[in-house]
């Protein structure tokens, strides 16, 4: 037994040393302004990706609002330095936690990621990781692996599915599994080089650890664990494994680790501005445990309490377990405090009273709703209830 423990201890030390060595040795494989050189595979992939990028540009799920794009782009460019002009960043409206990178510099950031990270430092951790995939030519390596194990026609779609987190055709799963082990190594390389990028840009490298701890907390809160492709999938190391590795070397390599308060405030400002859109999409997923974890985090980082309370109300009302309606009522009331009440909280308080057959109270809140939001698109429905004599 003692002998086995000694071997484990030695292996642990060797692993840590190996990680530290990898971190110091890692350098980008390509220079800024890189263009494809391999005529057989690489140029073909770039051409295909060009068409894919056009599809993204025309996608109905592309978030085009200037301020949110500028926020993400500024962080990406700070991390990327001289590689900034190589990147094209697209924010995609998708409530799940993911980002992806292609060989030609197309970076996709899902809105579900923006609502889960707590600061610009944490956003930079993910962006640095994606940038590392680009500078290490990981896409090309993976495409080549796939090409060797599959017919050429299927390679591109499948490769994209792997890289972007979109579902993989069932019939081709065996071939995909063959390259997954390799991609886990690439993920670890991207983690380590990503940290190097973000640290060089002046971001707090320990933010990477916080990102994965938040991922673990959300998973623990989830009633249905995530089995979908994406950052949680088997193509990526588990969050537990990541935290363990990162905690073993980030504090050793980087001293004076302090989160940037301005970076947190910038992120909170962005969340406050887009919170209704971001959290409505999350509520639509009907995954209440995950929503709870996110709301607790948003409370901790200082997102507008009225907005948070409104979505606590939404979560309780839609979950509708015993006692939830009372909790929803309390949350909605909290969401109407101060000089910036959430108008929809009044409306939903009205609906709760209507459900409880207390029509005068329902009408009181419906009137408040229309006062605050006279141009509400559901005004006709509210006026119908205001004219009701009995619920």
């Amino acid at each position: 037994m003692r002998h086995q423990l000694r071997i484990c201890f030695l292996l642990l030390i060797l692993t840590c040393r190996a990680i530290a060595a990898v971190e110091f040795d890692l350098e980008p494989k390509i220079p800024p302004g890189y263009q494809p050189v391999d005529a057989n595979t690489e140029k073909g992939i770039w051409a295909e990706l060009h068409d894919y990028e056009r599809e993204i540009q025309n996608s109905a799920l592309l978030v085009t609002d200037r301020e949110i794009n500028q926020y993400v782009r500024n962080a990406a460019c700070r991390v990327a330095g001289d590689y900034c002009s190589d990147l094209r960043i697209y924010i995609i409206r998708n409530p799940y936690f993911n980002a992806s990178m292609t060989a030609n510099g197309v970076m996709q950031v899902w809105t579900g990621l923006l609502v889960r990270v707590s600061s610009e430092d944490e956003l930079a951790a993910i962006l640095g990781h994606e940038l590392a995939h680009y500078t290490q030519l990981h896409t090309l390596e993976r495409m080549r692996s796939l090409k060797n194990s599959m017919s050429t026609g299927a390679v591109f779609d499948l490769g994209l599915a792997l890289l972007t987190g979109v579902s993989v055709p069932v019939g081709q799963f065996a071939a995909v599994l063959n390259v997954l082990a390799y991609s886990r190594e690439q993920e670890q390389e991207a983690d380590l080089l990503g940290i190097k990028f973000m640290a060089a840009a002046g971001y707090d490298p320990s933010a990477t650890i916080r990102v994965w701890k938040a991922v673990i907390e959300e998973e623990e809160n989830a009633a249905v664990k995530n089995r979908a492709p994406g950052i949680f999938s088997k193509t990526h190391p588990g969050a537990d494994e990541r935290v363990e590795i990162l905690e073993s070397f980030v504090p050793q390599q980087y001293t004076n680790l302090t989160p940037d308060p301005q970076g947190r405030q910038k992120h909170v400002d962005m969340l406050n501005r887009y919170y209704m859109m971001l959290m409505e999409d999350q509520i639509d997923t009907n995954r209440h445990g995950r929503t709870e974890a996110m709301l607790r985090n948003h409370q901790a980082i200082g997102v507008d309490s009225n907005l948070i309370n409104f979505f606590w109300g939404e979560m309780y009302r839609q979950r509708n377990l015993e006692g939830d309606l009372d909790k929803a009522r309390k949350s909605y009331k909290l969401a109407t405090r101060g000089d910036k009440p959430v108008a929809e909280a009044y409306r939903n308080l009205g609906y709760i009273h209507l459900k409880e057959r207390s029509l005068p109270e329902a009408k009181h809140y419906f009137r408040k709703f229309l006062e605050v939001q006279p141009d509400a698109d559901d005004r006709a429905m509210i006026e119908f209830y205001l004219q009701e004599k009995q619920p």
Partner: protein, 195 residues
């Protein structure tokens, strides 16, 4: 010559195996107590083309279900979902007999997100308003469905609850052409539904 003959036989045998769309003639049709009146002929989609449709649901189309569809979902009992799924991950929301109009709107929105594939669609509803379906109060609302790799859809839903059962019909048409082409007839069908 042999190749041509082989191709024809293969094509015919493939067509013979394909499930057929069935014509729906103009007139009154009763689906599980939900009476629909249509002034024009529609095509009833085979169940294999609509695997998420619950038992008793019907899907009508003019130009193909990817371009336009009217989905008729009659008699959803308390605790049942608008669609079916074999995936445990999907967490389909269930209808509750005491749901108010805003909750039926949310139920539809959330169910459509699951139907189209979570994470690859944004469903937005608006203009919730009352509507009288014969002798019963009900509701109407508009919908926009943005799909990651398909067209934008626009549509309308009509719903009413009678004897604790939900009766719901929605129309979705690809923007702009197919929505405009069929919205008038869809409105006649949805607004004219009776239980």
């Amino acid at each position: 010559m042999n190749k041509v003959l082989f191709s024809i036989i293969l094509s015919l045998s493939t067509v013979a195996c394909m499930p057929a769309y069935v014509a729906v003639a103009p007139g009154n049709i009763n689906y599980d107590g939900l009476i629909i009146k249509t002034d024009q002929a529609w095509n009833l989609a085979p169940t294999i083309s609509t695997p998420s449709a619950r038992k008793g649901s019907k899907v009508w189309t003019q130009d193909g279900i990817l371009l336009d569809r009217i989905m008729i979902i009659p008699a959803v009992a308390d605790g049942e979902s608008l669609f079916t799924t074999t995936s445990k991950d999907q967490a389909l929301p269930a209808f509750k007999a005491d749901m108010l109009p805003n909750e039926i709107e949310e139920l539809t929105e959330s169910s459509l997100v699951k139907l189209f594939k979570e994470g690859e669609v944004v469903v937005q509803t608006s203009n919730l308003r009352p509507h009288r379906f014969g002798e019963h109060n009900g509701l109407l609302f508009d919908m926009n469905v943005a799909v990651s790799d398909g067209p934008n859809y626009r549509g309308i839903t009509g719903a009413l609850v009678v004897d604790k059962k939900l009766y719901l019909i929605f129309f979705l048409g690809a923007e702009p052409y197919y929505y405009r082409k069929h919205i008038d007839e869809a409105l006649v069908i949805i607004k004219g539904a009776r239980v």
